[in-house]
């Protein structure tokens, strides 16, 4: 501190605040300002807040949060499997296979997840006498995210140019070695940022499983609100609890993106 003050005094300019400190200070100021606006808005609406009735149900809500995390994890693993199958299908030389995979991707990406959940659970799963809500929900969610992931994977794979493949052949790699040492490491790096971003979407989209009454975070908060005869109190922690899952993921996604930029 003392040394920097001396330097400032010597060259006669005010101390430059470091970039990261500026970011922190501004973030804190903005958060405080926004909080103030919210408080003023709500105090004007004369709504009676009953935080204790939600606090009493904290265990239920915590279980819902864990359920959301687990559902997301299961759907993530399954969505990667679906994505690989759909991508392989689209790249297949067998025409019906290629058309089928492309059709699935287009239909899944062209309809809302909400509709897919309603149709998938109340029509398809019911017809098949599958009544386990969570597993059915996970499969539908995984298929939805998998269709997007398939496109991310396909894009990453197709971004490996012909010159890289020629270089691989030129150094004498056979087909397996080309995949292992040239195509996959580069494609995976390119797919990682998009995949991490898709994972954030997956966590958020899992809230829609509440429409088929899966006991995940959104559903338990709705239930808690109803049971406590409170209208709004549950939604604030609901938002914060989702952010607790997604913010670390998007931070990680951004880091991956930055690293990828440096490498090409």
């Amino acid at each position: 501190m003392f040394t920097s003050w001396r330097v400032v005094a010597w060259n006669g300019r005010p101390a430059e605040m470091s970039e990261s400190r500026k970011v922190w200070l501004w973030s804190a100021a903005l958060a405080l300002g926004c909080s103030l606006v919210v408080v003023v808005l709500f105090s004007a609406s004369e709504y009676q807040w009953h935080w204790d009735s939600i606090w009493q149900r904290r265990e239920l809500i915590a279980r819902g949060w864990v359920a959301t995390a687990l559902i997301s994890l299961a759907a993530l693993v399954l969505s990667i499997v679906f994505a690989l199958l759909l991508m392989a299908g689209q790249r297949s030389r067998v025409l019906p296979m290629c058309l089928f995979a492309r059709g699935v991707v287009e239909i899944v990406r062209g309809t809302p997840l909400l509709v897919q959940l309603l149709v998938g659970y109340y029509i398809v799963a019911n017809q098949l006498h599958l009544n386990a809500r969570a597993p059915v929900g996970i499969v539908i969610l995984a298929l939805f995210e998998g269709a997007y992931l398939a496109e991310i994977f396909r894009g990453a794979l197709e971004s490996i140019g012909a010159s890289q493949l020629e270089a691989a052949r030129a150094v004498g790699f056979d087909r397996r070695q080309t995949w292992r040492f040239v195509i996959l490491p580069q494609a995976m790096r390119r797919a990682l940022p998009g995949t991490a971003g898709q994972l954030v979407s997956l966590v958020k989209d899992s809230s829609l499983l509440s429409v088929i009454a899966v006991d995940e975070l959104t559903h338990v908060v709705q239930a808690a609100n109803a049971a406590a005869y409170t209208g709004l109190e549950g939604f604030v922690p609901l938002m914060l609890l989702y952010l607790a899952l997604t913010l670390p993921l998007s931070w990680w996604a951004r880091r991956l993106e930055a690293r990828f930029k440096y490498e090409t």
């Binding site: 010159s163 890289q164 020629e166 270089a167 052949r169 030129a170 150094v171 004498g172 790699f173 056979d174 070695q177 040492f181 040239v182 490491p185 580069q186 790096r189 440096y262 490498e263 090409t264």
Partner: protein
């Protein structure tokens, strides 16, 4: 090792890249240079000679060995060669050292230590000592092409094939790379090279093939070619390329 090529044909869609190219090079032609206008088929011929491309028709003899065009034989033939391309084509996710050492390990089954040693030797020789741990994106074009050259010669290939190795480089870098190629050509390395650097070709070539529209229209000793190109096109070409040098 002489190269004998008969009636080589290669078509891309409607474009005839090689249209019945035929030629012979003598045993003592250590450095064969391909000249000709852009699109005359130099790159395609180079790739067929190196077993990177399958011709539609025709025959290639490398010494006494007739090249075969099924996948397994092409892989085996390819592994005897070293390639350097116009666009460097290094693997961007690997360090410069790994670019050279990885093929030694997985294609030539060298031990980790031997591969590393061999790669470092080749890179030192090309003045890349301080750059071995860098990624290709951190290197200049000239440095990248020297890494590519190290990668190509480290396994001691029977034939080194270079496809316009300096056409993506500025004049300073071009000089560096050409010096190295010249050093290789003056050693024992057998080279087939396509280039527009006519002054350089004149220095290193033992034998010249002049191509036009997929055919080899001149095939002769370098001294003879540069003294008296036979065809009008070759005369114009040599003159045009030397006008500002």
């Amino acid at each position: 090792m002489h190269i004998t090529v008969t009636q080589l044909t290669k078509q891309y869609g409607a474009h005839l890249a090689l249209d019945g190219a035929s030629f012979n090079t003598p045993d003592d032609a250590g450095c064969v240079v391909l000249l000709g206008p852009s699109g005359s088929g130099k790159s395609t011929l180079l790739r067929v000679l190196g077993s990177l491309l399958t011709p539609d028709a025709g025959e290639v003899l490398m010494g006494e060995e007739r090249l075969l065009w099924n996948e397994a034989d092409m892989l085996r033939q390819r592994r005897e060669n070293g390639f350097v391309f116009q666009g460097f084509n290094l693997f961007p996710h690997l360090s410069a050292l790994e670019n050279v050492a990885l093929p030694l390990r997985v294609v030539r089954s060298r031990s980790d230590e031997t591969a590393r040693r061999t790669a470092l030797d080749a890179m030192e020789r090309f003045g890349l000592g301080p750059h071995v741990e860098k990624r290709p994106a951190e290197l200049s074009g000239g440095q990248q092409q020297r890494v590519a050259l190290a990668r190509a010669i480290a396994p001691q290939p029977r034939l080194l094939l270079l496809d316009e190795p300096t056409s993506a480089l500025d004049p300073m870098m071009t000089q560096d790379v050409l010096d190295l190629i010249r050093e290789l050509a003056e050693g024992v390395q057998r080279i087939v090279l396509s280039t527009h650097e006519i002054a350089f070709a004149r220095k290193v070539a033992d034998w010249v093939l002049f191509l036009d529209r997929g055919k080899v229209i001149e095939s002769c000793g370098a001294a003879e070619f540069f003294a008296r190109p036979i065809t009008l096109l070759a005369q114009h070409f040599v003159e045009a390329l030397t006008r500002y040098r």
